[in-house]
């Protein structure tokens, strides 16, 4: 795959859901991406540091335990401060708890600076297709 195919993957915050993370790693690698998988319990700073050192094209954040809003807030701003403000940010999982519709959730996370937001149950293929399109790969 030509162009920058490096992506940073991880489960944000105090979230320890490891299975989906492994599945995503396998799926994206199979699709030809160079995956830098930080695993579970990843802080915003760790995502950013890994993206800087590896000059990654995108950061893919998972959150399964309902605290996604709290954990993801400020990530785009920190990327801007760190000099990688243009990096693609994707997020997916059980992002919030409570009775909000996915449209509301998507709007919330887009306002926070995420380029793509995925509801629970989305197959990796969807995100892979989007990412290839966004990166022009």
């Amino acid at each position: 795959m030509p162009g920058n195919n490096r992506i940073v993957l991880g489960v944000i915050g105090s979230d320890v859901h490891a299975v989906g993370n492994k599945i995503l790693e396998m799926a994206f690698e199979e699709a030809g991406f160079h995956v830098i998988n930080l695993g579970v319990m990843v802080s915003q700073e760790e995502f950013i540091n890994a993206a800087i050192e590896s000059d990654a094209a995108a950061i893919l954040v998972s959150s399964l335990y309902g605290h996604g809003e709290m954990d993801c807030r400020g990530l785009r701003e920190k990327c801007q401060e760190a000099g990688i403000g243009d990096i693609l940010l994707y997020v997916g999982g059980n992002l919030v708890v409570g009775k909000r519709t996915f449209d509301e959730v998507e709007e919330l996370f887009k306002k926070m600076g995420f380029d793509r937001v995925y509801p629970p149950g989305v197959l990796p293929e969807v995100a892979i297709k989007d990412l290839k399109k966004d990166l022009g790969l």
């Binding site: 930080l38 319990m41 050192e53 590896s54």
Partner: protein, 447 residues
């Protein structure tokens, strides 16, 4: 056939004479290091302790040195927690003193600082393999333009390495490219950089430091801390035990650990860059003679603080001073305990408690040394103490259970003070080195 092993230390020049066949220790001796009149003076003085017959038949001479400031390195990388940390580990593992570390693009002020520090070598890293190129290229250009003329070891993004070399070579006399200290995020690869540093040390830096006479006369092989590290590696390999060495010296306290240091219990998540199996830390502010002023700061309370300060002032005037009476010996024990405690705390990892929706979790950063088998004490402050065992026990006293310091190791003393000699012999004469290990390691019981 005999071998003469020498350590040119900051305070003392130590010699060890051994028989190679059959392997046996002949004897040891030491004399104050003579920087002003040339290092050979101190060596000859130390050799006076041996008879001409004893000195007859020496076929192998090897030396290590931490005189003239040791091997001074400045480590440069991109992100502080990643390539900067990896570069620092590589430099420490090569037996260097890391004067400073720098992250991101070097500023003019930082370049001035580096000139001021006058290092023997720069270790330049940055970017994973195939990752960021911009930073290391920029820093190479800035170093080349700065007027610095120290040797540079390049251990960064392999995709940028040859360009970095071209940029540096225009102005820098010795540029060595080796493999990346962090080829992937959170993967540490320090051995190639360690080897490159050692080769450059032997080829170029000893010359620049005026140690080439020593090099010709007695075969300078490595910086002293690396010799101690090699002794630890050998002991770990032979015994199969997890080992920590605490080396309390005049100017610094070194700690070496030989273990994976991974979490020992379930429910602990390991974070951060992986730790090297053979890890060394050096505390430049913890020493028995040179760095006493800063050591005073970690000695919180003492009944006799005034007298303690007076003693420190006297030592500042005369660095090779040896405690003359009971009271001064007592002060030396306070210094030694503080050095051991503080250096072990900084070397070992720690746990942080975290409450999550899944319940309570622990995050471990650094190495878990709680279950190491053996702790070896060395360095003048321990070797020549009357009660090395109680010094080590006092230094190990547990104050914070979240600090992963050794808990119940078997305590041993390098009582012949020959660990450096064992390290110098380890590669070419492993059997002799093993005999010396058995000879010198004296059990001090458990904690």
């Amino acid at each position: 056939m005999k071998a003469l092993l020498i350590d040119f230390g900051s305070t003392y020049t130590k010699v060890t004479l051994v028989n190679l066949d059959p392997p046996a220790l002949v004897g040891t001796s030491r004399a104050p290091t003579t920087i002003e009149t040339g290092l050979l003076d101190g060596l000859n003085k130390a050799l006076e302790a041996f008879s001409p017959e004893q000195l007859d038949g020496i076929t192998v001479k090897k030396a290590c040195s931490s005189a003239a400031g040791g091997l001074k390195i400045v480590a440069i990388g991109l992100v502080p927690e990643l390539t900067v940390k990896a570069a620092r580990e590589a430099a420490l593992g090569a037996g260097a003193r890391v004067m400073a570390t720098y992250a991101y693009t070097l500023s003019d002020e930082e370049l001035d600082e580096i000139k001021e520090l006058d290092p023997d070598l720069l270790l330049l890293s940055g970017g994973t393999d195939g990752g960021d190129r911009k930073n290391i290229l920029e820093n190479a250009a800035r170093i080349a333009e700065s007027g610095l003329s120290v040797p540079v070891v390049v251990a960064g993004n392999k995709s940028a390495a040859s360009d970095v070399k071209k940029i540096l070579e225009k102005r820098i006399p010795h540029v060595v490219v080796t493999r990346n200290v962090m080829p992937e995020i959170n993967v540490l690869q320090v051995e190639p950089a360690r080897r490159a540093i050692r080769e450059l040390y032997l080829q170029e830096i000893t010359k620049a430091k005026g140690l080439d006479v020593i090099q010709q006369e007695v075969g300078l092989a490595m910086p002293t801390p690396l010799a101690v590290m090699k002794a630890g590696e050998l002991f770990n390999k032979i015994s199969g035990k997890e080992v920590v060495i605490v080396d309390v010296g005049g100017a610094t306290t070194d700690v070496h650990s030989f273990c994976d240091g991974r979490p020992r219990k379930s429910g602990i998540v390991l974070k951060g860059l992986p730790e090297p199996f053979a890890k060394r830390t050096v505390e430049g502010d913890l020493g028995m003679r040179v760095s006493l002023q800063t050591l005073l700061e970690v000695i919180e309370e003492n009944d006799d603080l005034h007298a303690l300060r007076e003693y420190v002032d006297r030592i500042k005037r005369e660095r090779s001073l040896i405690a003359a009476n009971e009271r001064e010996k007592y002060f030396d024990r306070i210094f030694a305990t503080a050095c051991i405690r503080e250096a072990l705390l900084r070397h070992s990892g720690q746990l942080k408690e975290l409450f999550t929706p899944e319940g309570r979790l622990w995050i471990q950063q650094g190495k878990d040394l709680t279950e190491i088998d053996i702790l070896i004490g060395t360095g003048g402050a321990l070797v020549f103490a009357d009660d090395a065992g109680s010094l080590l026990r006092a230094g190990l006293r547990l104050e914070n259970p979240l600090q992963l310091t050794p808990r119940q190791p078997q305590l041993m003393l390098d009582h012949k003070y020959v660990l450096y000699a064992i390290g110098l012999l380890a590669e070419d004469y492993p059997e002799t080195a093993e005999v010396l290990l058995q000879e010198t390691l004296k059990s001090l019981g458990r904690i």
